[in-house]
Amino acid sequence: MSENFGTIVVCDFEYEVEPGDLPNVLCMVAHVLDENLQHVRTIRLWRGEFDPTPPFDIGADTLFVAYSAWAEMTCFKVLGWRSPVHIFDQHTAYLAASNVLLPHSPDEIRKKPRKRLPDACRAYGLEGWERIDKDTIVKAIGDGSWREHYGPEEILDYCEEDVRMEARLLRAQLCGRPGLLPADVPYVLHWSNYSAKCIALIQARGMPIDMELWNLVQENKSAVIGELLRRFDPSHDDEDPIYTPEGEWSYQRFEEWLVRTGVIAWPRLDSGRLNIDSDAFRLMYSVPGIEGLHALRDSLGFIVKARLPIGCDGRNRPSLFPFGTATGRNAHTKSPYNAHAGMRGFMVFPRAAIGAYLDWRTQEVGVAAALSDDRALIDDYAGGDIYHALARLCDLTNDPDPVHWKKTNPAMRNRMKPLQLGINYGMGVPSLARGLDRHPLIASEIIERHKRRYPRFWQWRADMVGTAMLERRIESVFGWPLRLSTSPNQRTLYNFPMQSGGAEMLRLATVRLCEAGIIPIMLIHDGILFEETEREKIEHAKEIMLTAGRDVCSGFEIGVDVDQLLENGARYCDKRPMAQQMWTTVMKALQAINAVPQKEVA
């Protein structure tokens, strides 16, 4: 058998799709190329013309090529076709080639560059779609209004133009150009197993949403928002509350509230503006009302905007955006996992199913311990609770028993989480002081103690950044690359090995799970959500996750916890107290207006 692919199939589908639903395939165009990338034939199929198998070979001698191939694989699944053996996802290849850490410039407002097919083509200097208003036709196809403006031949022509451009893009990606290295085919095929095959399977499943309750909340939105504001906006009784009665956040009124309440040490960006990201809020949980305000902020957006894509089968199918971040993590949006943990209560599993949420224990710290080979960090991680080790380092507890400490000090443990990660990622003295609510001298001393306790970790981190700066490149354990421009943010580099290692772990486990026939229903940072009917599969999934952890960490075991095990139609209930308060408030608001009976409030 030849060492080269004998056939290359460049393919694109057009389909109608409602938010949260599976695609309704309209047409498909494929250019079949020979082993020299020369055009052999064109296949154009319209709805109703699809056979039970693809009209081209999908075996080991054929390379299937598509841009954002997860969409094509979803169409394959809808049509009942098997996935090709080898997929070259051009989007993944482009993300890898264009993954550049720009110079650190906190004052510059940057818009994340779009990386759709036309954007990739432009980057490679390829012109196309001259006679087509691509945005208009894409929208018309997606929402089904194409019938008013286009005939099938025009849609097929449009689809073929995409395929023609994809074939040109493939050629360009293989050759590279200044600033865009040639695609490394084995790596792209490896990544595409995840970003195309697995993602399509996972997105197609979706998460089960309690539609009756979701609709009740949407119908009684103002009552729910009002109750949440009363309960969680610490400025609710002020003349100028942070939130409007409609649940709209104001940066200015938040800043004024901080001044009124005497909080002068809120973390700021280098530009001088308040830092209002989640990490900044977590750091300030020691200020009364802030934890609740953070929870409110993350919950209101979810309820007010109601952008959850839910299919007609009541399942939320968010886009996972594989490799959507510089570290190779997914960049999923529009799911209960993109809101406060309390909002996960909208998930209820069918009575016959077992819902299980499994996550890697303190994944980033475990990866850091393994990669740095710091014996003390390994020991502290293996001790079962790295946050307990930090609390002891900070002299915040004398309790030698991590289990007892965890049980009796949940608030302190929660405060240790961002600090542990922060110190690893280069958090400075002022931020640590704010996070601990202690004098900067104490924060400085803790950082010094951390250095003395974990010297090999600190040396590894410095060497790793030094090497990256010299080579202008850093990569994950299994080769996901990030190239560096001039003067990148060092903290991003500190963060990269841990985040990219965690991403590798998730990808590796996901591919193996799918190969084992255990298709997750959601991937979340360091956890995986399952919906199965047999407990054995959950146990098998846990084993696969443990093995993936060992593979990424050269044999060091990253623990896997069963965070949720939901049977007999149980509702997802995050264990954290604030999440439970948030959910109870939502339910009480509905109860107060008699939208739900009393017994629903847990």
């Binding site: 030849s2 080269n4 692919f5 293989l174 085919v185 090497t467 990256a468 990569e475 299994f478």
Partner: protein, 219 residues
């Protein structure tokens, strides 16, 4: 994305040139494992220009390098050169022979430079007195410098108390601060970097011309 390029790479302009794509071999995760080892770099941060001042100006506990042979310079000559528009970094290093030839002795400062650090590796070059050691200021300063070879030491001026000399204090707990992690760069290199552009080593050096009131050449 640099390894395993396609088997045949045509010129970028060739839109239809044949390209073949090699099939991946049997899957092995180890093929993808990064071969880069961050530990191979063994990178040490090179010290850039260091601050330099007498020990008392550190206003903190200080350690001086214990290796006097290699990290304490011999007595060096310095002059302050007035530069309009610049308040700091007017102290220039000057070759003794040039200084003696051109400048009155009262303008020439003489002291040693020793590699020093405040707690947690905040390095500086410490001025160590070598002249007029019977002067109580210099004597107490030198004592403090010598003590700081072994102990975390702080020198504080007693001028406000109406007393001449420095008060020399030791850290209450000598292990309150970690042992210095001294840079391995040579002292000569550190001094050269610190005084780059401010070393008077020739007759027509602008600093020297300014000090003797000679016309500057801007060419």
């Amino acid at each position: 994305m640099t390894k395993n390029k396609p088997s045949i790479v045509p010129p970028a302009s060739a839109d239809n040139a044949p390209i073949q794509i090699a099939k991946p071999g049997e899957f092995s995760l180890d093929k993808f494992r990064s071969k880069r080892s961050p530990a191979t770099a063994g990178i040490e941060t090179l010290q850039a220009a260091l601050p330099h001042h007498p020990m008392s100006q550190a206003k903190d506990f200080v350690r001086l390098h214990p290796d006097e042979d290699n990290y304490w310079s011999p007595e060096l000559c310095f002059v302050h050169v007035p530069v309009k528009g610049q308040k700091r970094e007017t102290l220039h290093l000057i070759e003794e022979e040039l200084a003696m030839r051109h400048l009155p002795s009262g303008r020439i400062l003489r002291f040693r430079l020793a590699l020093a650090t405040k707690p947690n590796d905040v390095f500086f070059l410490c001025h160590v007195p070598t002249q007029n050691l019977d002067n109580v200021w210099n004597e107490s300063n030198l004592q403090a410098c010598l003590q700081a070879k072994q102990h975390w030491t702080q020198a504080t001026s007693r001028r406000d108390e109406g007393v001449d000399g420095y008060k020399v204090d030791f850290a209450k707990n000598q292990d309150a601060f970690p042992e210095p992690n001294w840079p391995t760069q040579k002292l000569d290199a550190l001094i050269q970097t610190t005084f780059a552009g401010r070393m008077i080593d020739r007759d027509d050096h602008p600093g020297l011309l300014r000090l003797i009131g000679a016309r500057q050449s801007t060419s």
